[in-house]
Amino acid sequence: MTYRVRLEMFEGPLDLLLYLIQVNEIDIYDIPIAKITEEYLACLATMQELDLAVAGEFLVIAATLIQIKSRMLIPAEELEGEDLPQEDPRRELVERLLEYRRFKEAALTLDELESRQQLLYARLGELSPPVAEGPLQVTLSELLRAFAAIVQRAPQATALEIAPEAITVSERMVMVIDRLALESPLPFTALFDVAGTRVMLIATFLALLELLRRGLVRARQSEPEGEIMVYRAIEGSGGDDGHPA
């Protein structure tokens, strides 16, 4: 093997196998299992040095390869049942490879479409479309994520019982407004003191949600995965400070 293979290049064991089949110019319908197994294991050996978390997935296919290889070593004469056509031990693996390859190709098509679509910019949503008539428009995913965020925020119920002497949400609301009065917009993350306690982080986050709900601040994300920016909404807004439970 003269080529060097880095396992991060592959989307998984099947991807690696397809690669080996391709560089060796092998007919996928007639894979020389011993040769491929050997190369595959050699690749795994380089991976072990990397100690990748995905090693398990690659090992599953390694085991499959070895199993097929041993089944193919049984001489045909020993399986005499003439009337029964012999099932090729490789068949199931080949079918998996073919199926995987179809989707790998489909993914390439999607990739091209994605690039093409990314040249077309649509308008982002309005700042705050009010209107509350007509049917609802919420996806289940949105609901789930809302709750997932809560679950993550509060693994133990006590974390949300804001101790009387400690931080309160209303205090944090004032803090957020003050920060934004000095500088707006601010990156979402800038509002959170990394050194702060978990309660502090939660209180700040709840304060931010509450301010958003009241329309005192706005959060915008100019693109998916982009940095979320927090804006002060119009003027100082001090008057109505927090009075959460």
């Binding site: 649509a122 308008r123 008539e133 995913s141 609901l143 965020a149 809560i150 990394v194 509450e210 709900r213």
Partner: protein, 197 residues
């Protein structure tokens, strides 16, 4: 940006005004249309406004708050209103969170929901009741006999569940938790380790 396609500047101007969420300042236009003088850009803007005046155009370029922005013409407002008026309404984030808590913790009282969310929820609760997504299940037999809330049949229909047992479990949800939330958890570790208090 090395070789740019040959595009009429008016087309670029239209695209910028279209995608911007806020009024576009003259400075931004100059920055993006690199190499054009202010006078040229003023001319472009006038040209654009001129084109908007045509009867088959529905937009207007207005100068507001130190910038330029596209808005719909006043004469098309009745249709825009009609269009907007029938738009499906989205639930606010607060409403969603509250609904999620009720779905998973029902029957639950208002103070209990507020304890979880850390804010008062009167407005949100009203919206949810009005929209028939939640209903009153009864009263909790304790001091003050607070009202117990639960989800309604409309809730199930809306999210396409046959019954409540179809709600994904907490574990399933956690595996879908957004990355940001995951980050918070690691912040927790930081906080714990560096416990300042």
């Amino acid at each position: 940006m090395d070789t740019l396609p040959d595009v009429e500047p008016l087309a670029i101007l239209e695209a910028l005004l279209f995608v911007s969420e806020v009024p576009v300042t003259m400075e931004r236009i100059e920055e993006v249309l690199e190499g054009r003088s202010r006078a040229e850009i003023v001319g472009l803007i006038a040209g654009f406004q001129e084109r908007c005046r045509q009867g088959d155009r529905g937009l207007l370029l207005v100068e507001v708050a130190g910038g330029y922005r596209l808005v719909t013409k006043p004469e098309v407002a009745p249709w825009v209103q009609r269009f907007r008026g029938t738009k499906p309404a989205k639930l606010s984030k607060a409403a969603l969170e509250t609904l999620a808590i009720i779905a998973y913790k029902q029957p639950i009282t208002k103070p209990e929901i507020e304890a979880i969310r850390g804010v008062t929820i009167d407005g949100v609760l009203k919206t949810l009741v009005e929209r028939d997504l939640i209903r009153i299940l009864g009263r909790k037999p304790e001091v003050g006999r607070p009202i117990l809330y639960g989800t309604s049949r409309d809730f199930l229909e809306y999210f396409g569940f046959k019954d409540l047992s179809e709600l994904p479990t907490l574990k399933e949800i956690e595996s879908l938790a957004p990355a940001a939330a995951g980050k918070e958890t690691s912040d927790e570790a930081v906080g714990d380790a560096g416990q300042p208090g």
